[in-house]
Subunit: 227 residues, 4 copies
Amino acid sequence: MARRSSDPARVREKILKLAMEEFGRIGFEGARVDRIAERCNVSKNMLYYYFKSKEGLFVAALERMYEGIRAQQRDLSVRASDPLLAMEQLIEHTFVALESNPHAIRLLNEENKHRGKYIRKSKRIRDLYSPLVETLSFILERGCRDGIFRSGLDPAVVYLTLSSLCYHYLSNQYTLEIALNTDLSSVSSRKQWLQHVTNIVLQYCVADPSATLDRKPNARSLAASAS
Amino acid sequence: MARRSSDPARVREKILKLAMEEFGRIGFEGARVDRIAERCNVSKNMLYYYFKSKEGLFVAALERMYEGIRAQQRDLSVRASDPLLAMEQLIEHTFVALESNPHAIRLLNEENKHRGKYIRKSKRIRDLYSPLVETLSFILERGCRDGIFRSGLDPAVVYLTLSSLCYHYLSNQYTLEIALNTDLSSVSSRKQWLQHVTNIVLQYCVADPSATLDRKPNARSLAASAS
Amino acid sequence: MARRSSDPARVREKILKLAMEEFGRIGFEGARVDRIAERCNVSKNMLYYYFKSKEGLFVAALERMYEGIRAQQRDLSVRASDPLLAMEQLIEHTFVALESNPHAIRLLNEENKHRGKYIRKSKRIRDLYSPLVETLSFILERGCRDGIFRSGLDPAVVYLTLSSLCYHYLSNQYTLEIALNTDLSSVSSRKQWLQHVTNIVLQYCVADPSATLDRKPNARSLAASAS
Amino acid sequence: MARRSSDPARVREKILKLAMEEFGRIGFEGARVDRIAERCNVSKNMLYYYFKSKEGLFVAALERMYEGIRAQQRDLSVRASDPLLAMEQLIEHTFVALESNPHAIRLLNEENKHRGKYIRKSKRIRDLYSPLVETLSFILERGCRDGIFRSGLDPAVVYLTLSSLCYHYLSNQYTLEIALNTDLSSVSSRKQWLQHVTNIVLQYCVADPSATLDRKPNARSLAASAS
DNA sequence: GATGAATGAGATTTCATTCAT
DNA sequence: CATGAATGAAATCTCATTCAT
């Protein structure tokens, strides 16, 4: 006589998916518990039963989002033998992960808007970050040992650099498009930007900068590609 | 008597200032018209008298914020004779402007969350952008003519690069601090980051990269400086 | 416990009853959702829970009023064998229905003020009208076949005539009383007016007008009767 | 240095005109002082200066409307020698006056909604009614003396009859159109209805009803004329 | 686990009216 | 006469949350 077979785990997952969508689209304050419930075809009480409160649901959605992003990066064979290739792959994966999870960016912005209030409560999220930095450290060390990367590179600085370049382009797309009067959403624009980011980061990392500069043709003009 | 103290223009300005603060702090949806009114010592309906609606107030606050940022950059003598110096100043001004206007970042994020919905309506805002790109083009051209910068640099790409690096560090401070387990708010961290950004951008622009690489000691470790 | 006393259907009905009263008394614009809620001993948001909006409540109240009026006319055995009697009964029922449902008149005026905006949306209301015209057609046809009524009578014209005479007396009571310096609310005035309406309509319908004219003594003077 | 030549009387008149329009269109409660002021290109304070309050403005608009209607009926040569003709003209003028002043009907309904609250305060309005009844009495008396009308006719009853038939058709146009599934706004429908009203009233008044019945062809079908 | 009904606090917005000049 | 600015009360509507079953 159960409403449907719907096992709890599946329901939880569906709720989280739509909560991510809602919180990402319109932020914590703008999100409506009713709307999430309605879209899940679940009664509002269920949300409260599973997640205690709107805040609880938000934190759960945040965690779920992090897990998704990390899962996407985990099966990344960045520990490949070639540090240059590994770095290229790391950058590409970062860009693609953000690009394909638009809610992630909004949720992260939301968290920063709240000055990290929720993220700080969740050990789970903190734990999800460490493998990322570890991976980057590993790559840098190996690259250094191989004489390809400079010595003394700070993984934090490298991560900040690549992360800024990947994230900002996507997160501030709309205001940037107006500022630069260009289209940042086209496939070719994004491809060129990713190439540019890769060049910039590798140029920064390599011992002898001139080595990478010519590896690939540089992204000269986004505008040109858009036409 | 008594009531008379304040002229309308001043009241308008006070409302805008606090609206920027409120919208920036908690977003459009989270912002409360009541709160803004109360903090201005103005009755709620005055906000509606001046700005028609919450949305109208938001757009006005956005415009005001842009004006503020641009005003800060306008009295910037970037058209100095030395392109390298001009570029350094442009980067520094961008970073400092964002750093000293924390509402600006949140308002811009807010706009991007709404997919540029409001900004697109305001010709005023669009107009405020153009001088920025013009200035950058001017610097790049002069640098190219002087043989210091590469030829063929796209101002859009250069702007995207420096903007990403300045903005993201500040906008995502809280999640980055947790990811990297470091403090990004200290004066020295920020100084080092600004130096790093400058290096990265100049390295990208100069004809012969090796020229700039040694200009100043590189930011080796944020963590180290924080300790 | 305690709270539990009332089932939803009963609450809905109570709200509708008081909404009819409020909308009828003071019109759509003048009606206050708060007042309706308060009189129902129901919290304001329940009205929105049940009826979505003030407009939704208005339409529901309109429908409820129509149902009431029609229900009152349905158990009317106007299909009696005698067309004259049937017509008299129809007129009397129309007058009495309007007289005993003062909200009905105001609600109908309200609808006409809004140029039929709401009524047009409600199929339910449209459907409630047809039996009325059908009944009238039936009476006229039978009367015609019996040689009592003229042939070629348009039910619409007959309905318009009797409806005007019944409705206007009640709907414009206050301005008419001042115009004519008389009292239209007394039982005897109303009785005489109903008699007058009956005479007028039957006189119009019968084949040979002289037949009805003497059936009952005519209403000579409202003023006289009021004294 | 005066804003414009605009003499006070003209301004007052303009305000009243638009106030009638607004109060008529949407009722006392729905009318907005701001809207009236705006449409007059007059500051709100002027309304208060001239009319003291919204209520004062409403009463003034009512009075103005009555004056307009009466003015239209005054230059009516109903005192013509032929009572039948006079009565026909009176009916026609009543119908046309209501038809060409749609605000009048709504304002009258508004007054009745308020149970004559405002009208009772205005001696001016009361005075405007008497000539109408006097005129009707005069016509009836002369018609009686001439042997054309019955004796003992109560002017109040006759007025109620013709007024109901003229007013209701116009005032309840929208609900009637839906009830009867017909169009009451066409010129031909209205012409036929006026003819019908005239027939009904004259038939009621004449000593020997058969005398009028054949005067003019009767309105058989509104629907037929609409097609 | 699950639901429809209910709630209380509060959000945005409106409006007649008045004040100071 | 005339105005822009201001006000306070109140109107419609929303929302996170809980209760009773």
